[in-house]
């Protein structure tokens, strides 16, 4: 009896341990078994999209996605909204673990980051197929070029985020100033506005507000400059850039820029527009809607300024949709995107708050044409707008992640808008920071 008991005890203990080990190994084995891979089957195409607009955007977007009826043998589509909070981690961990989407939007430079890691399925075949159904020629000029990397198209343009010059009609009238057309007339208008206690260069460069930095680069591009050369290397300390930053520093020193703007949030800047303290300024194409109230009637988009070099230009962000190699079916990803682009017009015609459309056909709808400011942005600003890659190129690339909302760009912006630097020193510091970040 004792002997048996002893054996039983040993057995049960080992048995228990064995069972425990087996139980513990199940999730490990499951974790090691990989993700969806490229096996196909009945798995749907996972489409992850961001909250690009107001609360109406994602429900409508989901409705469009779920209305997709795939051709025989192709997978259906499943919709997932991804929040902007920590979206880089969300995507990177999902892609690394093969549990990510087959198709997604995301950050403007996300496709180029994943492309450099070999995770992106190039859109060349898709775009070729769109030459037959009219979609290819429907894109606004220059948009597709911004997506092209040496190995192919990393993504497809989706919605446009522009930086444009806004002015307040009543405040310019009150100041007796004309809508500026070049740098000198801009200075004149600022001087007139200052006399009535209004700032002529409304901007924001504080917590979470990257617009201030975008506009500084816009000034550089407007003067024929920019941050990167043809080899996609930082080339910030150029005469065009120095002249542009000297012009901004002149605006600072003359008191045309709100001295608190280096630390303004977007909400602070909008409050200044609302309080009629900003008579002119650069912002997104949706500024009037964001400020609301009187601004809807008072604010208007001006034409792009002409620089002393006789050039025009501005910074813009072609947000995009990318396809991933980790898909149940590449053919299925492409078929879904074809459907999506052919049916996404309501996202713009039903006031969902998404950025400007990438397709000419959408800009020609009566709903879009009803907004004169948007029409002006598409007609006058979009054709002259360039990406971060300017002046060296048009296509985005991995290196632009060193300037898009980075501490280096924030520091540069706040030092220029604070007026306690000179153009060459600030640009040299920026250049060195970009170089160091590219190396590491």
């Amino acid at each position: 009896m004792n002997g048996n008991s002893s054996i039983n005890t040993k057995f049960s203990r080992r048995g228990f341990l064995g069972l425990a080990g087996a139980a513990a190994s199940i999730p490990l084995l499951a974790a090691c078994s990989g993700g969806s891979g490229g096996g196909g089957g009945n798995k749907p195409i996972k489409f992850w999209n961001m909250p690009w607009g107001n609360t109406a955007f994602n429900p409508l977007d989901q409705k469009i996605t779920e209305a997709y009826k795939p051709a025989n043998g192709l997978p259906s589509a499943a919709y997932q909204e991804i929040q902007w909070a920590n979206f880089t981690q969300t995507f990177s961990s999902a892609v690394a673990s093969n549990t990510g989407p087959a198709v997604s939007s995301g950050g403007g430079t996300q496709a180029f980051q994943f492309e450099s890691q070999g995770a992106i399925a190039y859109a060349d075949n898709l775009l070729n197929s769109w030459k037959n159904n009219g979609l290819y020629n429907d894109f606004l000029p220059g948009l597709l070029d911004a997506m092209k990397v040496p190995k192919g198209y990393a993504a497809v343009p989706y919605n446009l985020d522009m930086r444009v010059l806004w002015y307040s009609k009543p405040l310019l009238d009150q100041a007796g100033a004309k809508v500026p057309t070049d740098w000198q007339s801009y200075l004149d208008a600022c001087a007139a506005l200052k006399k009535i206690g209004v700032y002529g260069y409304g901007t924001a460069a504080g917590a979470g507000a990257f617009t201030g930095g975008h506009i500084l680069v816009s000034w550089m591009i407007n003067n024929g400059g920019g941050l990167f050369d043809e080899k996609q290397q930082p080339n910030c300390v150029t005469q065009e850039n120095i002249d542009a930053m000297n012009f901004v520093l002149e605006l600072v020193s003359k008191g045309y820029i709100d001295p608190a703007s280096p630390t303004y949030t977007s909400a602070n800047a909008q409050a200044q527009w609302k309080a009629k303290k900003y008579g002119m300024g650069f912002d997104t194409a949706g500024l009037a809607q964001n400020v609301g109230g009187d601004a809807l009637n008072d604010l208007a988009v001006a034409s792009p300024l002409t620089s002393p070099n006789g050039k025009k230009g501005a910074l813009f962000f072609p947000n995009n949709i990318m396809m991933y190699k980790n898909t149940p079916s590449q053919e299925g990803s492409e078929a879904f995107l074809t459907y999506y682009y052919q049916n996404m017009t309501p996202l713009w015609t039903q006031a969902t708050g998404i950025g400007l459309p990438p397709l000419k056909s959408i800009t020609q709808t009566k709903e879009f044409q009803a907004n004169a400011n948007n029409v002006k942005v598409i007609n006058e600003w979009q054709p002259i707008a360039k990406t971060w890659a300017a002046p060296g190129g048009t296509a985005l690339f991995l290196g632009v992640t060193t300037v898009d909302g980075t501490p280096a760009m924030d520091t540069f912006t706040q030092s220029i808008l604070g007026g306690k630097t000179d153009a060459k020193s600030a640009l040299t510091t920026l250049q060195n920071s970009i170089k160091a970040n590219l190396k590491s």
């Binding site: 005890t9 203990r13 228990f16 341990l17 425990a20 513990a24 920590n86 880089t88 981690q89 995507f91 990177s92 892609v95 690394a96 980051q113 994943f114 890691q117 995770a119 460069a205 504080g206 917590a207 979470g208 507000a209 709100d258 001295p259 608190a260 703007s261 280096p262 630390t263 303004y264 949030t265 909400a267 602070n268 409050a271 200044q272 309080a275 303290k277 992640t401 060193t402 909302g405 980075t406 501490p407 280096a408 924030d410 520091t411 706040q414 030092s415 604070g418 060195n432 920071s433 160091a436 970040n437 590491s440």
Partner: protein, 324 residues
């Protein structure tokens, strides 16, 4: 079942060797039973321990490896040894930013800890006196701690950010001109530190209130009888008797301040020109905005080490206070 008699068993009980079986055999069985029990405990606690290790230790070890690599958020990168630490501390593009952030973290922590402690202690002492609506005051004074920091930061931004905000208007009315509370680097530091004191003093007030409640009133009465003045009572009796709680609150607040991300990030984003960037904010921006995981994690690790050292020093003070 047993073959021993009751008398034998009684004798054994008196000798303390157990009531059944042989003494030696019983000891072996007890040892065996003890071993079995130990194994059982280990087996039953193992899942929880493994889970704890996976949740707490694994990320730390993984992060330590990350700090020795040059990866990004989507790429593990290559092993680079201690390059990230060296570049951060002495000879890299991160070095000036790191030391600027370290200095601000020190200022922010010192002001945060001692500022909130001083305000909290004063209020705790005041709340001991007989004032009308004391309960209401307690609740009101707790509000800065209770309200989510996002709301507080938004409120403070409204108070100080634009020239039309109440504080700049007040400064204007006092003839101080256009005071840039957030745009001027020095004033931004002051504003962020004051904001930290404001959201932290209720915690200190609670800690000090509970410490003061534990002090025996007879001690105060005895001191009064001996002719001690208010300052003498505070310095010689109150402070020593609440020293243990004081050190604990300093440790906690030091950890809160050094690890405080939202207070700074929501109010200034670390600006202007990096003047309010603390080590935690710098680590965040390096990892999530510059996509340099290695240097960012290295900064976080070094911050943790400093924090541990400070905590140990303060903890020794607690032991000292307990002994005394």
């Amino acid at each position: 079942m047993s073959t021993t008699s009751i008398a034998d068993r009684m004798g054994r009980a008196k000798r303390g060797v157990g009531v059944s079986g042989t003494g030696r055999q019983g000891g072996r069985r007890r040892n065996k039973s003890l071993r079995a029990k130990t194994w059982t405990y280990i087996i039953f606690t193992a899942p929880a321990l493994i889970l704890l290790l996976l949740i707490n230790l694994y990320p730390v070890i993984y992060a330590a490896f990350q700090s020795l690599r040059n990866g990004t958020l989507i790429d593990g990168g290559d092993f680079v040894g201690f390059t990230n630490y060296v570049n951060t501390l002495v000879a890299g593009n991160m070095t000036p930013a790191f030391w600027q952030a370290a200095l601000f973290t020190l200022i922010f922590t010192l002001v945060g800890v001692f500022g909130s402690w001083a305000v909290g202690l004063v209020l705790a002492l005041l709340l001991r006196t007989r004032i009308p609506a004391r309960g209401l005051f307690k609740v009101l004074l707790l509000l800065p701690w209770i309200v989510p920091v996002v709301v507080s930061a938004f409120s403070w931004n409204w108070l100080v950010a634009t020239p039309q905000s109440p504080f700049p208007m007040l400064a204007q009315a006092l003839g101080l001109g256009n005071v840039l509370f957030l745009a001027d680097p020095t004033l931004a530091k002051v504003t962020v530190c004051v904001f930290k004191v404001w959201i932290s003093f209720p915690f200190m007030m609670m800690m000090m209130s509970s410490a003061l409640a534990a002090v025996d009133n007879n001690v105060y009465e005895a001191a009064k009888v001996d002719g001690a003045g208010s300052w003498q009572v505070f310095r010689e009796i109150t402070l020593p008797l609440i020293s243990r709680s004081t050190y604990i609150s300093w440790i906690l607040m030091t950890i809160f301040c050094v690890n405080d991300f939202p207070t700074i990030f929501l109010l200034t984003g670390g600006g202007p020109v990096g003047s309010t960037t603390s080590l935690v904010v710098l680590a965040y921006r390096t990892v999530f905005q510059d996509f340099q995981v290695g240097p960012g994690v290295a900064i976080a690790f070094m911050t943790t080490v400093v924090l541990i050292v400070v905590s140990v020093v303060l903890y020794r003070q607690i032991r000292k206070a307990s002994i005394e």
